[in-house]
């Protein structure tokens, strides 16, 4: 049930831009509007585009459900693990244990309006990336479950 050649070419061109935009939203979640949930949804839109332009079987050969399942579980585990690790640093659950001491994302932020530095935020960017991975897997699994049951044979126009 793949669409016409024009739609497939457009999907091929748009696909990397959608992916880059989604990763940008996820990674810049602590600086600009957006975050893990929104960016993961944008990345899942790329999977929708592929499913619409190509047939389901063509997509499912290169994108297996196990990858999405594993990414969803990995995202949730990374989220809970980052939150739990604050207990070993002597903070409360979800305490910001990277904020001033960690190797990454630990630059202190000045109060007021500043242009923003990607290397700030403590656990906020880590949790953003974890949620982004999880939402990507979850939305992809939902789309594959719902669109995967369609009959792919016959009357393609």
């Amino acid at each position: 049930m793949s669409m016409s050649n024009l739609v497939r070419s457009g999907a091929n061109i748009l696909m990397p831009f959608i992916l880059v935009f989604g990763f940008y939203i996820v990674v810049h979640g602590h600086l600009s509007p957006g975050g893990g949930f929104q960016g993961g949804a944008v990345i899942a839109t790329a999977i929708v585009l592929l499913m619409v332009a190509y047939s389901c079987d063509e997509v499912c050969t290169s994108l297996s459900k196990n990858i999405l399942k594993n990414s969803e579980t990995l995202g949730l585990l990374l989220f809970i693990g980052t939150a739990l690790f604050a207990l070993t640093a002597g903070l409360a659950f979800f305490g910001n244990w990277i904020l001033d001491t960690g190797p990454l994302f630990a630059t202190p932020v000045a109060f007021g309006i500043n242009p923003g530095n990607l290397n700030t935020g403590g656990i906020v960017p880590v949790l953003n990336i974890a949620v982004g991975i999880e939402v990507l897997g979850a939305m992809g699994l939902l789309i594959l479950a719902m669109l995967g049951g369609m009959k792919g044979d016959g009357d393609a126009e």
Partner: protein
């Protein structure tokens, strides 16, 4: 009879919506110190310039954990409902 009933229900809903939307005043929300505190200390305490991200992932992190768990459960339920029956790999061994 059915048309009259439908029109009546629609009229009641429209009047209720218009009264609620136009007639009632919004009121004065109670003053809280919470928003001022987050705006003044959020940048230094969470380290993120985006105060919304700071609230969602740091101050209210437990709530976000619940959201992520809800999404996980949604995928489990949708996978249960939309599973493909009759495929070889989905069949149980004792069937």
């Amino acid at each position: 009879m059915k048309n009259i009933l439908q029109a009546g229900i629609l009229a009641v809903c429209a009047v209720a919506f218009l009264v609620a939307g136009l007639g009632l005043s919004f009121g004065t929300p109670a003053y809280t110190d919470m928003d001022d505190y987050m705006l003044l200390h959020g940048q230094e305490e969470t380290g993120s310039n985006n105060i919304v991200s700071g609230v969602v992932f740091d101050y209210r992190g437990f709530d976000t954990l619940g959201e992520a768990t809800v999404l996980f459960t949604v995928v489990l339920g949708a996978g249960l409902v939309f599973r493909r029956l009759g495929k070889k790999e989905d069949e149980y061994e004792y069937e």
